[in-house]
Amino acid sequence: MNEDDGPGTPTRSAVVVGAGLAGLTAATGLAAHGFAVTVLEARERVGGRTHGIAAAPGVRIDAGAAYLGDRHTELNALAAELCLKTTPTTMLGASRFALSDADDRPATSDGRFPPLDAVALGDLFERLAELTDAVRPDAPWLTPDAERLDALTAAEWAERHLTHPDARLFFPLFLGEMCAADPADVSVLHLAFYLRSGGGLRYLNAFAGGAQQDRIAGGAHQLCERLAAPLGTAVRLGEPVRAVHQDDRSVTVRTDRGAYRAEVAVLALPPLLADAIEYRPALPQPRSGEHTARGCAVKVHLVHPAPLWRDHGLSGWSVNARGPLLSTVDDSPEDGIGVLTGFVTGAEAHRFGALTPERQRAEAVEQARRLFPMLPEPLGVHITDWLADPYSRGCYAALLGPGDWTRIGPALTAPHRRVHWAGTETSTAFFGLMEGAVRSGRRVVAEVLARG
């Protein structure tokens, strides 16, 4: 669509596919360098895996990505540029743990440490740290022993190496919290890479001083809304992309409504969605592998008039061996309603996602009642199933299974002629996080500019 303006004044042009954080960062960067940009978004909203839903009049909460920390430098800088403030994630008071079969009586203890065998958990984390330290963070497929680590699932690894029942109990819960994965879904290489990419075990796990330290005040979706606003009608909603055709002169991106021609295309999509598009010429190899799976996360929000659990000395944090809510966290906005967020992850997300909405709600409310019996019935219950979302296919990020990294890794960011790749799954730094998405968008801008 973007033809030259006239003789002597060629306008460079780009079509960006996906109006999430990666795509909008790329589009904004290219527009700033004089590109005529069109952004094609399948949904009727921008934001991708960030999504603000109304929890009360004028109050939106994060149904998708929410957290950031100090090391997320590009994201913090972007928030500042967009005049968005961050708010600390509050975690003061005691935690609740339902980790034994006596599920009806959760244990209460100070801090976040679960009432499990500390040495057994330490053995688990020492083993994970050993794997994490050994991985090549910039290129996991070049890790010494990559083939072997990529052939084994995290479930098989746990079966071999974890002997203590407490370590076996905690490992899947930890993996669910960290990367919304069931141990059977990811290779050991992906597990080690993911932990390293996110800043290591301690950083990725921590709230204060870690990756969950802060949230965007008012919701992370505002990052995308504010990036999209200056682009105006260049952002076209409700246009799922079907095909990307290119020749020596241009690339044409086809949707059900039209065809958009440009000098380059940026595909800012999770790998499973990128592979659902038809390419001419065909991709030299798919973006996902045989075992690449959707990140298994369903987010449940229980809305209260205020964070009432704090009055009872509780932080809102809980970890639970049985679902649906495998962990809960206080995601209340500052000075307002109380929001308890429940994470349904891993295999439990598949089970829960298959239930009727009524059943989902009943299970979530019943479990919250057992965990926090002092709380009244919630004012609202919101359930966001990212697994079933056709335009994300999972959250937090794609799960790379056996064989995937060694096959996909080497071409992770390699352009397919005029097609460049963005999205958090193309960032080896902070893979799967908002920070990774922003970094991928910045990288792709530099790539396109370097085409000359």
């Binding site: 801090g111 976040r112 440490f113 500390a118 040495v119 958990l121 330490g122 053995d123 984390f125 020492e126 740290a129 075990l201 301690r202 796990n205 921590a206 001083g209």
Partner: protein, 81 residues
């Protein structure tokens, strides 16, 4: 508490080395507080695992909270051994 005066300083130095490894920082002395150095409960369990492997002593998480320095933990290990 019976403290073995010949082994405790050596144990404390070995524990300081463990602190350095798991906290990924060099500025650890026998009296450094683990939590002041940026440690948290997750990393603390790695120290307890290392203690169990090196000294055959399984300390509880509460032991760690009560004595979160290399010297303090060395005394706990001597008392438990």
């Amino acid at each position: 508490m019976s403290t073995d005066l010949t082994t405790t300083p050596a144990t404390a130095e070995a524990l300081a080395a463990v602190f350095r490894r798991v906290l990924e920082r060099e500025d650890v002395t026998a009296d450094s507080d683990f939590f002041d150095l940026g440690g948290d409960s997750l990393v603390a369990t790695r120290v307890l695992s290392a203690v169990a492997r090196a000294h055959g002593v399984e300390l509880a998480f509460e032991d760690f909270l009560l004595a979160p320095t290399p010297a303090g933990l060395a005394r706990r290990i001597a008392a438990a051994a």
